[in-house]
């Protein structure tokens, strides 16, 4: 009951009042507590890196709990920080042979956070791979044989938190933030998609919904 009350305070308007910094105060639901506990049992690396990963894991789970459109399936902290999350978002797929657009309702994201990212700016494509669905149709998503990396910018600043990467991924997939100039080498991984989107600007963004839903997510309680 206490967990639900706390989460209610921290969701929607509550989170807006506290900002993303308030995530560390969110009490995780039972399922996420178990997920975090399991990941922490196999947390490797130097102590500061272990602490960082544990903090990132908690914040990611808390964000998933309060936002209502994210479900964390797995967290691995043995080496680099790795998480598999399902994001409910309209996701654009390659148009079919008739040129009709296809939208998927979710994306499975592989979030990879290297230890090096704590102290150095890393390329924007180094953090998120779209594991499913295949054939994404975005200028800033790489090809299948490269693991569909989602480019979030030329470089991301050192020590960027995972929760911010998730928000950037939401913005990129829903096209609330766009980069479709195929002549700009920064961020365009699919020139065909970039040109297609230039001709279909009216479809942008795919949704105007905010990332945080107003309803509290009580899955797992």
């Amino acid at each position: 009951m206490k967990v639900m009350e706390m989460n209610k305070r921290m969701s929607g308007d509550g989170l807006a009042a506290h900002g993303l910094g308030g995530l560390s105060h969110v009490v995780l639901n039972r399922r996420y507590q178990q997920l975090l506990k399991k990941a922490m049992r196999c947390c490797g690396g130097p102590s500061p890196w272990q602490c960082r990963k544990q903090g990132e894991a908690h914040d990611l789970l808390a964000l998933a709990q309060v936002c209502g459109r994210l479900d964390v399936k797995e967290i691995d902290m043995k080496g680099s920080f790795r998480a598999i999350v399902v994001m409910e978002a309209p996701v654009m797929l390659r148009p079919d042979h008739t040129g009709q657009c296809r939208l998927a309702e979710y994306a499975i994201l592989g979030i990879l956070y290297h230890e090096e990212a704590v102290s150095a700016a890393l390329p924007g494509a180094a953090f998120v791979s779209v594991l499913a669905p295949n054939d994404l149709w975005y200028a800033n998503v790489g090809s299948l044989d490269k693991g569909q990396p989602l480019c979030l910018g030329l470089t991301l600043p050192a020590a960027i938190p995972v929760k911010e990467i998730v928000l950037m991924a939401w913005g990129a997939l829903t096209m609330q933030t766009v980069m479709i100039d195929e002549r700009d080498s920064a961020g365009v991984l699919n020139a065909d998609a970039a040109r297609w989107w230039q001709d279909n600007l009216q479809r942008i963004p795919l949704t105007g919904e905010p990332f945080i839903r107003r309803q509290v997510d009580r899955r797992g309680d």
């Binding site: 049992r41 196999c42 947390c43 490797g44 690396g45 130097p46 102590s47 043995k78 080496g79 680099s80 790795r82 592989g110 990879l112 290297h114 090096e116 102290s119 150095a120 700016a121 890393l122 390329p123 494509a125 180094a126 791979s129 594991l131 295949n134 054939d135 790489g142 090809s143 299948l144 044989d145 490269k146 693991g147 990396p149 480019c151 030329l154 470089t155 050192a158 080498s185 961020g187 991984l189």
Partner: protein
């Protein structure tokens, strides 16, 4: 990114025509056998330009045991304005590292001179393992960070020679690296230098972290030959003081001479908690057998981490990644579970026959032991590791570099 190694200047002469004792002074207060020390002294020099080449020739005249030269650049006609470079080399634009090593070998045939004409970041982690001192003479911040980090890990003293031509300043910084928590060159970086370093790093969008490229500064060293030479000679003098233990022991410090005021100053260097570098000291273990024939389990026994919990341990053969899952152009996933070099293909897809590539989410530059638990009995070669000279193993905050029995591979140079 495959790690690379030094090449040796081919020459069969082994004796210097003029022995050094004909000019080497009897240093005041010398408590060591100077000739024995110099005969065993090995130095790695990164940067063979206006400062580095002068330093190299100064050390070659001391007829030391070994000089390793690293520089990715080539000489150009303007080099004549700041270097003591042979005019023909400046005109023809040869590789700085190769020509500098040859010049040193001509001055001192007894000195073993090797060179690497590429970025220092591409060298094997163990490349400087058997040198007594590394000297940095480049204005490339990324190279500076890389060398500083290597020397910290390996506990090798580092000397940096630099100039500020506009103010006639010659500067030398010395990091003893005796303690892991001592100062390194990056400890004194300000926010501007940090941003500068980040801005200079360029990444291949699809190549992953291994395919980064450091933008080499295009602006040449704007200085007079005399200021460059002064910095190099200050560095050579400090090297001699350090190697022969002349005067009081050399501390972590910065020595600066300003030509405008004819004054010199010495300032201590201090460790910063905000340093970019990892201040972990690596333990060095030499493998009794070639690394390729060593199994992962034997590696862990060598490091003494065999008893630790597997999730505390990670393994990283130099220049290799461990790939759990590959993906083809059709998007099919396939289990791979072996080491290999980044950027290459990993065989063919069993479903569609197209080439497989490492999936970035399932590739490890440093693989946790838990991910290879069932492969511990296999040799590194069977697991796809070829030509590596070292393997870095970590256990919590400790790290051990396991190196080949013969650390530095030396091939012959192309004339």
């Amino acid at each position: 990114m495959s790690r690379r190694r030094f090449m040796k200047v081919a020459d069969t002469r082994l004796v210097c025509p003029v022995p050094r004792d004909q000019r080497l002074p009897q240093f005041t207060g010398l408590r060591k056998d100077a000739h024995a020390v110099l005969n065993g002294l090995s130095i790695g020099v990164v940067g063979a330009g206006s400062v580095g080449l002068n330093y190299l020739t100064a050390m070659a005249t001391l007829q030391i045991k070994k000089l390793l030269v690293v520089d990715p650049g080539c000489f150009k006609p303007q080099s004549l304005l700041t270097h003591r470079v042979p005019p023909s080399a400046a005109r023809n634009g040869g590789a700085k590292a190769r020509i500098a090593a040859k010049i040193c070998h001509e001055i001192s045939p007894a000195t073993e001179c090797s060179y690497f004409p590429g970025p220092v970041e591409d060298l094997e982690l163990s490349a400087f393992l058997d040198v007594d001192l590394v000297v940095l003479a480049t204005d490339n911040l990324a190279a500076e960070k890389d060398v500083s980090q290597r020397c910290l890990h390996l506990g090798i003293p580092l000397l940096q020679c630099a100039v500020h031509g506009e103010t006639l300043v010659a500067q030398v910084r010395f990091c003893s690296n005796q303690q892991a928590d001592g100062p390194c060159l990056c400890c004194s970086y300000n926010s501007e230098e940090r941003e500068h370093l980040a801005a200079r790093t360029r990444f291949s969008c699809l190549g992953g972290l291994g395919d980064r490229e450091i933008e080499v500064p295009r602006a040449p060293t704007m200085s007079t030959a005399a200021t460059c030479s002064l910095a190099a000679d200050l560095g050579a003098t400090m090297t001699l003081r350090h190697a022969l233990s002349l005067g009081s022991p050399l501390q972590d410090c910065q020595v600066e001479f300003c030509g405008y005021t004819n004054t010199s100053s010495t300032t201590p260097l201090r460790h910063s908690d905000r340093c970019l570098c990892d201040h972990t000291r690596w333990q060095i273990v030499q493998s009794p057998s070639p690394l390729a024939q060593t199994s992962l389990g034997e590696l862990l026994d060598l490091t003494g981490y065999g008893a630790a919990s597997p999730w505390q341990i990670s393994i990283a053969p130099s220049g290799h990644v461990f790939v759990e899952i590959g993906v083809c152009q059709s998007g099919h996933w396939q289990r791979i579970r072996r080491f290999g070099q980044q950027g290459r293909s990993w065989g063919k897809c069993k479903r569609c026959g197209r080439l497989l590539y490492a999936h970035p989410f399932f590739a490890h530059e440093s693989v946790p032991a838990t991910a290879v638990g069932d492969l511990l009995g296999r040799s590194l070669r069977r697991l796809g590791v070829h030509g590596t000279q070292s393997v870095l193993t970590r256990c919590d905050s400790a790290a051990t570099l396991v190196v080949q029995p013969s650390n530095i591979f030396v091939g012959s140079s192309q004339p």
